[in-house]
Structure formats: C-alpha cells, structure tokens
C-alpha cells in the first residue's frame, strides 16, 4: 500500500530530476542532429542520427590537446597540493615549535579569501617569473589556493592517528621524515583520496586562471577550448553541444564514481550510503 505522501514525494523528485536531465540529454542528443533539426526539435529524439559532428571532433587533434593540457595541469596540481600540504600539516600536527600557531593561522587566511580579488597582481607575478603561457602559471597559483583547506584537513586527520606506531618506529631508529613517508602517508589514503578528488575537480573545471594565464592555443585547457569553439561555430549549436558532451562525459563518469570523496571534502566528514 503506497501512501499519497509517498506518491507526492516521488513525483516531486521526478519533476526536479527532469529539470536537470532534460537540458543534459538535449546537449548529448544535440550533437547527433543536423543544424536544421536543431531548430525544429531542440529537445526531442533525433529523427536521423548523424555521427559526423562527433566523429569530426574526436578526430581533431586539437581536441585531444585541450584534454591533455587539462589533465597535465590537474594531475600536477593534485600531486603538489598533496605533497606540500601533507608535509606542512604533519609538522603542524606533530611538532610544537615556535610560531607554529601563527604560521598555521597565516595559512588558514587562504580560506576566507575571494580568490579573484588579487588576480591582476597574480598575473603580473606570474609574468615576471616568466611562466606565463606555461602550465606552471596555472598550476602554482592553484596549489597555493588549495593549500589552506588541504592543510586543515590533513592536520585533523594526522592528529587522530595513534602515537604508539610512531613510538615503536622511533625505537627502531626511524626518524620523523622517514616515518612520514613510510607510514603516515600510506596510512592516510582516505584523506589523500578526498583531497585529491576535490583538488582535481576544481582544477579540471577552472576557467578564470587559464583564461588569464594562457594565451597560446596549443596550451589551452578544455574550458578555454570549449569557449573558443563556441565563438568559432556560433552558427552551429550541434557542434558546440557535441564538444561539450565529449568533454563532460569522461569527467562526469569520474566525478560520480568519486562523489563520496567530493562530498566528504565539502562537509569535512563522512557521508553514509
């Protein structure tokens, strides 16, 4: 016996879902339609499935260059954020040294910063370092902005780790640095995965920093590429939609698979089921 309340609940949920899924399905299907059909039935099922638009995009080496650039930038950002953030957090969690509290609060300033506020001097800094138009011009600022929250999470996690392990290792002559790399890091996979996923999503989707730092088309990330594509083929929505679908598909699959970690990163705690 299903109650009316339950029916109402499911109906509401289905309605909201349709608001989300209809634009997305129109995007994916749009790439299979001709420009003419786009006008007649923008949201419907394609009358005739044409694959040329998708095939052309997937054969375009430029498309793969964009994806490759985004991947390189995202992976290096993740790697550097994890290594620098976890090292600093370990020091803050393990050692009581002069100025530790001050330095920690200093880093946490990064949490209340509207990141775009300093974008012009940041652009000049990157320019004067000679890394404008290179992946590093995007990577290093991203790492710097990701450090605050990652250090906060790492520190909380490291503080909860039992001390006994370290004491046992010390007796065997293992120092702090070796212990960190041999035991602490391998035992921290949940928090590493959380922060890695979170940083990766941010970097993969970033638009403002690449827009400011990258000028050369061959160095473009996919977000810049998508905007470029839109400008170039403004008359042909099916092309832009196919491009967007082709870039979103792998990302969305990855993000949904890793959603547990993204949410844990957002809420600072575990989410069930």
């Amino acid at each position: 016996m299903i109650s009316w309340k339950e029916v109402g609940r499911i109906a509401t949920l289905l309605f909201v879902s349709s608001l989300i899924l209809i634009p997305l399905s129109a995007t994916v299907l749009g790439g299979f339609k001709t420009t003419g059909e786009m006008r007649v039935s923008p949201f419907g099922w394609p009358r005739e499935w044409i694959t040329e638009v998708y095939v052309e995009i997937l054969r375009d080496p430029q498309f793969w260059t964009y994806l490759w650039n985004s991947l390189v930038i995202s992976l290096l950002t993740v790697f550097l954020t994890l290594i620098l953030g976890s090292m600093a957090a370990y020091a803050f969690a393990q050692a009581k040294f002069f100025g530790a509290n001050f330095l920690y609060s200093y880093l946490l300033l990064g949490l209340m910063f509207p990141f775009a506020a300093a974008i012009l001097p940041l652009f000049l800094t990157v320019r004067d370092m000679g890394i404008l138009d290179t992946p590093w011009g995007v990577i290093l600022p991203q790492v710097a902005f990701g450090l605050a929250f990652s250090i906060m999470f790492f520190r909380t996690f490291f503080k909860q780790m039992p001390d006994e392990l370290f004491e046992a290792a010390r007796v065997d002559g293992c120092g702090y640095i070796r212990f960190f790399f041999l035991f602490t890091l391998p035992l921290s996979t949940p928090i590493l995965a959380t922060i890695a996923t979170f940083v990766f999503v941010q970097s993969w989707n970033n638009y403002l920093l690449p827009l400011i730092m990258l000028n050369d088309r061959d160095g473009y990330t996919w977000t810049l590429g998508a905007m470029d594509y839109r400008g170039e083929y403004s008359w042909a929505w099916n092309r832009t939609l196919a491009f967007v679908s082709a870039t979103l598909a792998p990302a969305v699959v990855f993000f949904l698979a890793a959603q547990k970690y993204i949410v844990a990163g957002l809420t600072g705690g575990a989410v069930k089921g």
């Binding site: 775009a116 012009l120 949904l256």
Partner: protein
C-alpha cells in the same frame, strides 16, 4: 649534587629546543613547512598586498611596479592618482549594477536555493537505493564545469532554438525572444542557472547533517506524537543549524566569486547589465589592462569577503 640538579632544570624553552634538535623534529619542521609557506606567500598573500599598493595608481602593467622609474621616459611607470580609482569605481553605473547583481546572487542563494536544497534533502536523506539515484542526479550539475553549464544554458535560452523558442511558439509570438540579450532577463537567467547548478551542493551538506542526527531523538519524538512537520521544524532544523551556517557561508563567499557562468552566457552584456563583481573586475581591469583600477576592485572584493568571513565566524558560527 646540587649543581647537577641545577643543570637538569635548565630553562624549559631551551631544553624543548634541544630535544627537538636531538630527535630530528627540528630538521623535519625546517624541511616540511617552508615550501608550503613560500608558495602560499608568493601566490596568495603578496599579490593581495600588491593589489592594495597598486590601487592608488593609474598603470597599464608595463614595468615591474608602478612607482619604479622608467629610465627611457624619466618618469615612473605608473601615475599616482590617490583615491581616484575608488571614486571612479563607486560612481560607475556598471559597477553599481555588478554589486546589485552579486547581492542578488547571494539573496537568491539564501532565500530560494537553500530552502529548496533543504526540502529535497529531507525527502531523500534516508538510505535507500532510489534515494541514492536521486542524490546522484541532483549532485550532477555541481560536478559539471561552470563553462559547460553556461554553454548548455545559452543553448537552452537561445531565441532561435531551445526552450525560449518553444516558449515563444507556445505564446504565438511572431518574433523570437532572446532572454540573454534582454536587459533584466539576462541576469535573472544567470540566477536561475546558479540555483540549478548549486542546489545539489547545499543538499549534500544538509544530507550529511541529517544523517548525523541520532535516530533515537526522532523515535522519541514520534512516540510522543510529533507530526512530520513538527519533527522537521522543532527537531531537525534546530539540530541542523551547524550545517545551515556552513551552507550560508559557502553561499555568500561563492556568490561573491561568480564568474565562469557569466562569461559563456552573457559575458556581462547586454550593455554591462549582467556583470558580477568578478566579471566586472575582469572586464574593466584585465581586458583593458588597467591594473590600478582592477586592483581597486580587487581590494573592494577582498575587504567585503574577509569582513564577512571574520564577522560570520565570530558571531553566527561562534563556538562551532
């Protein structure tokens, strides 16, 4: 004997320091902490300080700093103009509009998006297979890039295609309606897309909060005869207060930084009516290489953001 005891009771700080030296802690700190501090200082703190220092200048960004002497011209690279940048900004109609728009984003996020997210969270926070599917669907817009979302909706709202076209046909209008090119509508569309994109994010925060409410409390309320709405308003919402404050914090700080969605949808147009603070900064500071002016806008953004964060942490979020 007395002497050796005196040595053992050396000043505590020195002995702590010596102990750190001896067991390798100091070495670890000296290797582990500086890289993070360095990169954070160079790419976050120094640029913000520079924004403050550049804001009283008229400067195109040519040369190292605006107050350095350009030996070719015999003058400094930039020109000191005092508070002119701030005055120009405050009296610029596009800036006022971008400020109004940013406040609208924050208002809509708090007044429409959060209640919507809460309603949905209450509907699907219990663990069941069907709820997990809905959670995934509602979370989908959040993980999509803003640029992709913006492109999709500029298609949906394109007067010749998409939803706008179907709507115009339905109403029997002769002429196509381009909401993204019409003055008040352009930004309302952006507001709608912001709700579409971020409600799942807030919903997830609320779900995490709801799942941490102990079931005994709810059971007890049920036994005492609490109705559904009573248990929502008298038990769940008060217990969710920490989650709500986090959500509001993100809504405000995120609202201050909306940019990526604006660019593909309207790029600030028509006639600068749909700028946010950041797209205004980008357009009038970066595009026109007006470093001093852009820095002034940046300082404004910084002061608003930090003032809010500071006040919020010390009032609403106090003790959490």
């Amino acid at each position: 004997m007395l002497v050796s005891e005196g040595v053992a009771a050396a000043p505590p700080r020195e002995s702590a320091f010596q102990r750190m030296m001896a067991n390798g802690q100091l070495k670890m700190v000296l290797i582990f902490v500086p890289p993070a501090i360095l990169i954070f200082t160079v790419f976050v703190i120094l640029p913000m300080i520079q924004a403050g220092l550049f804001s009283p200048y008229k400067w195109s960004g040519y040369g190292p700093v605006p107050w350095a002497l350009n030996e070719d011209t015999g003058r400094t690279f930039g020109r000191w103009i005092g508070t002119t940048n701030f005055e120009r900004m405050m009296s610029h109609s596009a800036f006022k509009q971008s400020l109004v728009n940013t406040l609208l984003v924050i208002g809509v996020s708090i007044a429409i998006q959060l209640p919507l997210a809460m309603t949905l969270a209450l509907m699907i926070y219990r663990s069941s297979r069907i709820n997990t599917v809905f959670r995934l669907i509602f979370f989908l817009p959040y993980v999509m890039a803003e640029v992709a979302t913006g492109l999709i909706f500029s298609f949906v709202l394109d007067g010749n295609y998409g939803l706008s076209r179907s709507f115009a046909d339905l109403m029997g209008w002769e002429k196509a309606f381009f909401p993204l090119a019409e003055k008040p509508w352009a930004f309302y569309c952006i507001l709608g897309v912001i709700v579409w994109k971020y409600f799942g994010f807030h919903m997830m925060i609320f779900i995490a909060g709801l799942q941490s409410i102990s079931s005994e409390v709810l059971e007890a309320a049920k036994i005492d005869g609490a109705k559904t709405l009573q248990s929502v308003f008298l038990i769940k919402l008060p217990l969710l207060w920490p989650s709500i404050t986090i959500s509001v914090f993100y809504a405000v700080l995120g609202g201050l930084q909306v940019f990526d969605l604006v660019m593909p949808m309207t790029a600030g147009g028509p006639s600068n009516s749909s700028h946010t603070l950041v797209s205004y900064l980008y357009n009038f500071g970066f595009i026109r290489l007006n470093i001093g002016f852009g820095s002034a806008v940046g300082v404004f953004l910084f002061v608003v953001g930090v003032a809010f964060a500071f006040l919020y942490r010390n009032t609403v979020q106090r003790g959490q």
